[in-house]
């Protein structure tokens, strides 16, 4: 696959597998071309196998496993082709404590190259941030914004 797309595809596939096994503590995930003979037109399949399991199709994954697999692909794309900034709106909603930890440490590493705006209700995710904005809604239905420090947040 000697095209520009081909080179990107190989790198993203590699990084996707690495993020996946870092998040799941093993297992493997990869992309596949629907038609390897015609790279220019082929679509992209996705496969994911958490460690110790035998997943027949992506719809057997749990809610949290699906979020984590999707984030692994997103972070792979950002690694191969860093976008200047990235907005994440409650991508951690389905994750348990341990997976939020894995998500935030990967986020911190990526934030060297990409700026992140992370909307969350999760205190652990907020703790990984360099700065915090609080949004509140008055009885008048108008949003107000305030720059916060971690100490300002409810326990």
């Amino acid at each position: 696959i000697h095209t520009r797309f081909g080179a990107t595809y190989e790198k993203v596939n590699q990084a996707f597998g690495e993020y996946f096994s870092a998040f799941f503590g093993g297992g493997q995930a990869h992309l596949a071309l629907t038609n390897p003979d015609n790279v220019a037109e082929a679509g992209i399949e996705m496969e994911a196998q958490p460690p110790g399991k035998r997943i027949a199709s992506l719809n057997m994954l749990s809610g949290g496993e699906r979020s984590l697999t999707a984030v692994a692909l997103l972070f792979a794309l950002l690694t191969v082709n860093p976008a200047p900034f990235c907005v994440l709106d409650e991508v951690d909603a389905a994750l348990d404590e341990a997976n939020v930890g894995r998500f935030t440490s990967a986020l911190e590493a990526l934030s060297q190259k990409t700026q992140f705006l992370v909307i969350t209700h999760n205190r652990r995710t907020v703790e990984a941030a360099d700065s915090i904005y609080g949004v509140s809604m008055g009885r008048d239905g108008v949003s107000k914004v305030l720059s916060l420090r971690l100490a300002d947040l409810p326990r």
Partner: protein, 165 residues
Amino acid sequence: MYLKKLSIQGFKSFPNRTTFDFGPGITSVVGPNGSGKSNVSDAIRWVLGEQSSRLLRTKKSEDVIFSGTGSRAAVGMAEVIITLDNEDRWLPLDFGEVEVGRRVYRNGESEYLMNGSRVRLRDVVDLLMKGDVGQNSYAIMGQGLVDEVLSMSPDERRSLLDEAA
């Protein structure tokens, strides 16, 4: 390049001009349900040229304009302006800062701005694409949409990868 400043006025639940100043690292946005956090993410998506009503949670293009509340009248225009730090000349323009803006009026008419002067949507999209800041790229993940990439068709996934190439 990074997003240095975001100014929202008349967009969704922000009738008053509201500005955010961002640093290059991780900024977290917190707040109660319904306070306006996803509206901030919608504002960024919108100013970058987003046209999809599904992603903007609207039916018509003027639904993004502050529609009034119990104690506050509706306004006639929504405006969002982002200021991008371009010190590293990530965007092929000879400016240390690049301002991109978008407005929509009650009659549905849209305006796009770059460094204060009116441009077409095409100009905004072309410029941003050069810097991999497209509005339909993987870089903006809407609420509840994180695992959408698992349910996409292979062709839809392909277009995500094409953007990264």
